[in-house]
């Protein structure tokens, strides 16, 4: 009888310890599956929110002008822009290095350079973070580019820090599009 109670107690203690340590030691999945809302200012000076794009799969590109990998990333995002309908997939590139002195005019200059120097029109939503770096502190603490794909309900489906090529992004977008 005593052994049976001891067994039960030990089993429960074991389960409790495993769950407790797992939760508090960081062995949880790094990916944040609960998308949240944020606002940003577009290059046209308009305030937009992520929730304005609900109903579409959203590719969020936290980037910077003075970042070489971010420039390469724009070429990959252009392929997404060309191969997916804007009614299904929205791309948002936000300059999150406001704290490093970047601003809307620098971002606009970059877009102009793409148009004038390599004849590439970056035809999606561009914006800048606020002075406090609210978006950077939540989505790009490790560096830029930081990429997120949201499903149609605004939940983070995929995230990646650093440059990612079109094929990977496209496969994740396809999966997100298939999500109900």
């Amino acid at each position: 009888m005593m052994i049976s109670v001891g067994k039960k107690l030990g089993f429960l203690l074991n389960i409790f310890l495993i769950i407790f340590i797992s939760i508090f030691s960081g062995c949880t999945e790094e990916k944040n599956n609960t998308g949240d809302d944020f606002s940003f200012t577009t290059l046209e000076g308009e305030m937009k929110r992520l929730s304005d794009f609900y109903g579409k799969v959203v590719v969020l590109d936290c980037m910077a002008v003075n970042c070489q990998p971010c420039m390469y990333q724009l070429f990959e995002l252009k392929k997404i822009s060309q191969n997916y309908s804007s009614t299904e997939v929205a791309i948002i590139s936000i300059d999150v290095w406001v704290s490093n002195g970047e601003n809307a005019s620098m971002l606009q200059q970059l877009i102009n350079d793409f148009k004038n120097q390599v004849n590439l029109t970056l035809d999606w939503t561009f914006g800048v973070d606020d002075e406090e770096g609210s978006i950077e502190s939540r989505y790009a603490t490790q560096g830029v580019p930081s990429l997120y794909i949201y499903d149609k309900n605004g939940n983070i489906y995929y995230s990646h820090v650093g440059y990612e090529d079109y094929t990977v992004l496209a496969s994740k977008i396809d999966e997100a599009l298939r999500e109900k």
Binding site: G6, G10, N66, Q68, Q109, Q117, V144, P145
Partner: protein, 158 residues
């Protein structure tokens, strides 16, 4: 700003650095290691600037990421027209740095073109962040299982 043309291997047309008093940026050693200290110097001709600063950005070309903590360091005048400073790199997994000098001359800020310097490797062989692979957490987890097994065993003996 990074030249878009430069990215695709074409001749870059730099909007900055031409006709400006900022000379060629020198970085020593030529191929520094990650986490090491580099010496950056630049000649500036003409009017004496009221302020000279250098921005050092660290990036990892393998993962395609640039780190957000750009160092912005003042460059004091060390000889006739040479401004110099030492900067200690912060990221063990950085593979290159970009260096840009900004000066304030007659109240206006001017900037040099950007210089890219490849890093030779890490001095301690550490490849940096492990992208979330559990290390410490796994050890704690295993210890927890071990402790709980000991507790169960002792209860059984009683």
């Amino acid at each position: 700003m990074i030249s878009v043309l430069g990215l695709i291997g074409a001749t870059a047309i730099s909007a900055v650095g031409t006709g400006l008093p900022i000379g060629t940026i020198s970085v020593t050693p030529l191929a520094p290691a990650a986490l090491s200290t580099v010496t950056i110097s630049v000649p500036i001709s003409g009017e004496v600037p009221s302020e000279v600063r250098v921005n050092v950005q660290e990036c990892n070309g393998n993962t395609g990421i640039c780190y957000p903590d750009i160092q912005n360091v003042s460059m004091p005048l060390t000889s006739s027209n040479i401004y110099r400073t030492d900067v200690t790199l912060k990221h063990s997994d950085a593979t290159y740095i970009t260096v840009k000098v900004v000066t304030k001359i007659s109240g206006a800020w001017q900037q040099s073109s950007e210089k890219k310097v490849n890093l030779s490797g890490t001095p301690d062989g550490n490849n940096g962040d492990d992208k979330g692979t559990p290390g410490f957490e796994l050890i704690v987890f295993l210890i927890a299982i071990g402790v709980s097994l000991i507790v169960i065993t002792r209860k059984r003996v009683k």
